[in-house]
């Protein structure tokens, strides 16, 4: 009797050991979210969707800058994400074995411009962009007005929106730095955050501008992104223009150069929100970061965009950098049923009344989908500015050609050399060399 009992007990032990390993998740739609700033909203959306349809949506958000890592370990699991994100053509290349062809789905057909989708070698649609974003220099017009009201200022223009090129920007910024005590600011630009993982505003976004002009001049390709994707090597012809704006940021910054290596993007956004600085380079997604800062002094009507002027000829007509690096893909290896359920969820999100309300008012997305009318645009001031720039026919939008940058390693290496340049351990020529050599070695 005793023997049987202990035998039973040990069997129970072993069985629990094994069942613990094969635990099944009940969610059939699993969305691995890329945007940490929208994590809470997606949770809410998932709850709402479950209330309306009874389908459970599991939302997991990867921490900032760890999406690729998270995806890599999640997708190997038996309950892998059914909806995940790729960041453009390069991202698609590394995940193409996991992307489902969604050419004939309602969701893919929502795109108002089919050419925006990522197509595979068989011309099928494998990833669909879901948000259009823009970035430039965000400025606080209240501080700018204060500056332009000064009688002893050294510049002749009378409002921030008259800044149309690098020369004017530089003159204004440097004069503002000289008078920062009168303006009540600690610096013109927020910290040029260069701590690890926080340098994407410079090694990706700012670098987009000089390389866009280089690829645009390509004789072989009309589309600068495609020219970039096919470029085995780059000349980095506009490196001095890149340096112009980067130096302007660090020379007129709130922080000393030596400590930039420990600053993060949220540090810079907080400095801007608290009114300590007048300008910061970032995109319209940053609105949530600005408005949620405790003690925020920036009024909604005062927050405006300037294009990234670097001193390139003809930049008076340059607009914001507008594009997308956010594409949804459906996991090819998921069951047919959950693939369909995932597509249904996305369809609901971007076509139903409730879903669209979340998209425009909570996620603050400008979408590329035809299910949204022109009135259904986010109400946040930065998104409105992006729309204003998009609709201004006199300006030329700079597309996001950085989706053609060869790899993440390219970006981190460039970021690392920027940090060493700022700290004075390297010359700008070394940064220039790094950009060129890393492009060549990473593009195989």
């Amino acid at each position: 009797m005793k023997k049987i009992l202990s035998l039973l007990l040990s069997i129970v032990c072993i069985v629990t050991l094994f069942t613990a390993c094969s635990e099944k998740s009940s969610a059939e739609v699993y969305f691995l979210n890329f945007k940490p700033e929208s994590a809470d909203v997606y949770k809410e959306i998932a709850q709402k969707y479950e209330q309306e349809t009874g389908v459970k949506v599991k939302v997991v958000t990867a921490a900032a800058n760890t999406y690729e890592q998270t995806l890599k370990s999640e997708i190997a699991k038996s309950s892998a994400p059914t909806i995940f994100q790729v960041n453009g053509p390069i991202g698609y290349e590394s995940w193409k074995d996991y992307c489902l062809n969604i050419e004939d789905t309602d969701f893919a057909k929502l795109l108002s411009d089919q050419s925006l989708a990522i197509k595979g070698s068989d011309d099928g649609v494998y990833a669909v962009p879901y948000v259009v974003e823009g970035y430039g220099i965000i400025y606080n017009d209240a501080i700018m007005k204060k500056y332009f009201a000064l009688s002893n200022r050294a510049t002749s223009i009378t409002a921030a929106d008259q800044i149309k090129n690098y020369q004017t920007l530089k003159a204004v910024v440097e004069d503002m730095t000289a008078r920062k005590a009168e303006l009540g600011i600690k610096g013109v630009f927020a910290s040029t955050s260069l701590s690890s993982g926080e340098d994407w505003r410079w090694q990706t976004h700012l670098l987009n501008v000089p390389l866009y002009y280089e690829f645009r001049a390509s004789e072989d390709y009309n589309d600068p992104t495609i020219a970039g994707l096919n470029a085995k090597e780059i000349a980095f012809r506009y490196s001095n223009n890149y340096r112009n704006l980067f130096d302007l940021y660090t020379n007129n910054s709130i922080s000393e150069k030596g400590i930039l290596g420990s600053k993060s993007t949220s540090d810079s956004m907080a400095e801007f929100a608290l009114g300590q600085v007048a300008m910061v380079q970032n995109g319209n997604w940053a609105w949530s970061q600005i408005k949620d800062v405790k003690g925020n002094t920036v009024k909604e009507d005062d927050i405006k965009f300037l294009p990234l002027y670097t001193g390139i000829n003809g930049e008076e007509k340059q607009g914001l950098c507008i594009g997308t690096e956010n594409y949804f893909a459906i996991n090819k290896n998921a069951s047919k049923e959950s693939q369909q359920k995932s597509l249904d969820f996305l369809n609901w999100l971007f076509t139903s009344k409730t879903g669209k309300d979340y998209v425009t008012n909570k996620l603050d997305f400008i979408t590329p989908f035809n299910s949204f009318t022109e009135q259904e645009l986010p109400s946040d001031p930065l998104a409105r500015e992006v729309v204003r720039y998009m609709n201004d026919d006199t300006l030329e939008t700079v597309p996001w050609i950085f989706t053609s940058f060869p790899s993440d390693v390219f970006k981190t290496e460039v970021g690392g050399s920027l940090l060493e340049y700022v700290q004075g351990n390297k010359k700008f020529e070394d940064v220039e060399q790094k950009v060129k050599s890393m492009w060549k070695s990473e593009r195989k």
Partner: protein, 281 residues
Amino acid sequence: MKYASKRWFIIFVVPTFAAFAIAFLIPFLSGLYLSFCEFRTVSDAKFVGLKNYLSAFSDNGDFLNALWFTVKFSFAAVIVINVIAFLLAVLLTRGIRGTNLFRTVFFMPNLIGGIVLGYIWQLIINGVLYNYGYSITSSATFGYWGLVILSSWQMIGYMMIIYIAGIQNIPTAILEAARVDGASPFRTLRSIVIPSVMPSITICLFLTITNSFKLFDQNLALTAGAPSKQTQMLALDIYNTFYGRVGYEGVGQAKAVVFFVLVAIVALLQLYLTRRREVEN
């Protein structure tokens, strides 16, 4: 009796062995296999032979740089930790007032996780360096000493406890005999205390060497390798190769295997060398 124990053997060993296999043996062997494969996620591996090992060493200098930095770090950390821990142990076995309080205080940092410690020390070090217009990423030297200070702070307490246990184990008769014979405190330390705590020294050296080589969270939280990977240690380099670089998963895995072999060799060598000097009481 023999018959019974054979039957019970299965019942008692199987659960433990299964746990060991699932949590250690199987991952280890599949990791070994994966180091010879090209793969994106661990479930879609394709065999490619020794290619990964070749590119681990030849692709860029990262791995060798990280190795050299790790060796430099371990060298300093092992000496600093063990010397200070031993001195503290000697001090705290003299029966001075508040001995227990001090032992607790010195041991406490060990109870805090590496990531948290990393961020705490990053704040402290930056707080000091900011005054001079620097931060911890300004130069690799700052990061290097930052890491040494951080890991000393964390590990000294633990090693101190081991040394204290060793010193307390020395028979008082021998110490008394030495005193009667008129041996100076330094002489006692050199000829009696140190030889008697050789087993503790073996353990402490083993722990500090392997821990210094394997250091990861502290490195990630304190500098994350900045500036330009100059303060990147082996474990962090492996992590970055595996996760940060598409198509290099296998190379990361190969680096991990090389790393394992290296740590094993260093640890075994050290065990062999210090064991020889141990004396029986």
